[in-house]
Amino acid sequence: MTFWNILLILVKGAGYTVLVTLASIGAGLAVGLLLAVLSLVRWKTVRLLLAAYTYVFRSIPVLVLLFIVFFGLPGMGIRIPPFFSMVLCLGLVSGAYLAEIFRGAMAAVSRDEITAAEAMGMKRVQIFLYVIWPQMFRMAVPGMTNEFTSILKYTPFAYTVGIPEIMKEAMSLAALTLRGLEIYLAVGILYYLIYKVFVVSFETLEKRFRIPGLAGE
């Protein structure tokens, strides 16, 4: 078995790794945006809940959360399929981080511009959609890229709940061939490639929408 063969076998799992990463990014974005928007609400209960959420999901290890969701919840009669469990956990955790990134980006949007939009007669939703969101999204790209790569690095946990991603292929191959060093080196290369593709595509996206003079440029 050549190194090339090893890579080919592992690539089978790479599909799942990418899938889990993309879906978790989607879930994380949804959660993060929701939290960031909620953080605009000045209601005390909402603020308290948000603080609690951030505190809990930033402190809990992903693996522990995964065990609670996938292996713990069924005890209460709640059964969540493996893929969805994984995406839910990563989404909840990365959502907590992304919310912070979005909140920071939102705070960086010029107060003057928001006043200008108010003075123009825009409603709050319009101000958010046309003035805040396009700017904060762009400013959040570096932080988001960071968070997305952490998501990628959490995906090996998917194997724990039975999703056959890269690490699963690697471990079963290593158990059979006893060529751990080469196999895990190949795993490293694969992760690097996936990481590179992600980063490059985000950089392209960022460049495509980059605006002169906008913070975070």
Partner: protein, 249 residues
């Protein structure tokens, strides 16, 4: 801007799309959890599950006319799947221990896993009495159950001291050192030994038996467990032994 928004929407929808994909299995299909890093009991080759445990289980399914679907987990995930009832049964050389019995039910043991001290064939090292053990160096990866065994059983008898053991990160290093002649004996269990025997010229110098039994793991209170035990009884010790031997050698 619209493009970004669209992209984000798509991303947000992704998880929903996939959540729809996991269908409910029919009730009659047995959900199996395995950890395919346990040859020869259970492993994967060219994407197919193989191994002694699976052969035994397939026999059960044939006899009872049941179907099964198999999912690979990592080790803790496999055990978790049984505890959390995500799976109806788990097997992959799972040792029956008192701790595990608290959270899952085990079948009757189907295999006595040996603990082997192996050496290079060309050294022709055979230990007839444990008192000879002192003369040799023993090595295994850190964190294995052998440490407890040596400390609680061998040390009090004055057979071997834990502090004399050479610890390694993984079996790869253990076997490499054995090959180089820096190590006399490697401590492996029977399953692992059977794998390495195919790759290297090694032999058993001493074999401990009778304290590591493999069983099929079921969720607590599983009726399937009782049926499986009945099947093992029907199969009989001889046929079972034949299957075990086929895979171990």
């Amino acid at each position: 801007m619209k493009k970004i928004a669209l992209l984000v929407c798509l991303f947000c929808l992704l998880p929903l799309m996939f959540s729809g994909c996991s269908k409910n299995e029919e009730a009659s299909v047995i959900k199996v959890a395995v950890c395919p890093t346990s040859p020869p009991n259970l492993y994967e080759e060219n994407g197919k599950h193989l191994g002694m445990d699976l052969e035994i289980f397939e026999g059960f399914c044939q006899a009872r006319n049941r179907r099964y679907s198999i999912t690979s987990y990592d080790w803790q995930g496999m055990l978790g799947a049984v505890i959390g009832k995500q799976a109806d049964v788990a097997f992959s050389a799972i040792s029956i221990t008192d701790k595990r019995k608290e959270v899952m039910d085990f079948s009757k043991p189907y295999m006595d896993n040996t603990w082997n001290l192996v050496s290079l064939k060309k050294r022709n090292l055979v230990i007839k009495d444990l008192s000879e053990l002192k003369k040799y160096s023993i090595g295994y990866p850190r964190g294995m159950a052998y440490s407890d065994f040596i400390k609680n059983k061998l040390e009090p008898q004055g057979v071997y001291k834990l502090s004399d053991v050479k610890m390694y990160p993984t079996y790869n290093e253990v076997l490499a050192d054995l090959k180089n002649g820096n190590l006399d004996l490697a401590f492996l269990d029977g399953s692992v030994a059977s794998v390495y025997r195919k790759k290297m010229d090694i032999q058993d110098s001493y074999v401990f038996t009778g304290f590591d039994m493999f069983g099929f793991a079921f969720p607590k209170g599983s009726p399937l467990r009782d049926d499986f035990d009945r099947y093992l009884a029907e199969l009989g010790p001889d046929k079972l032994k034949a299957i075990v031997n086929k895979w171990m050698n």
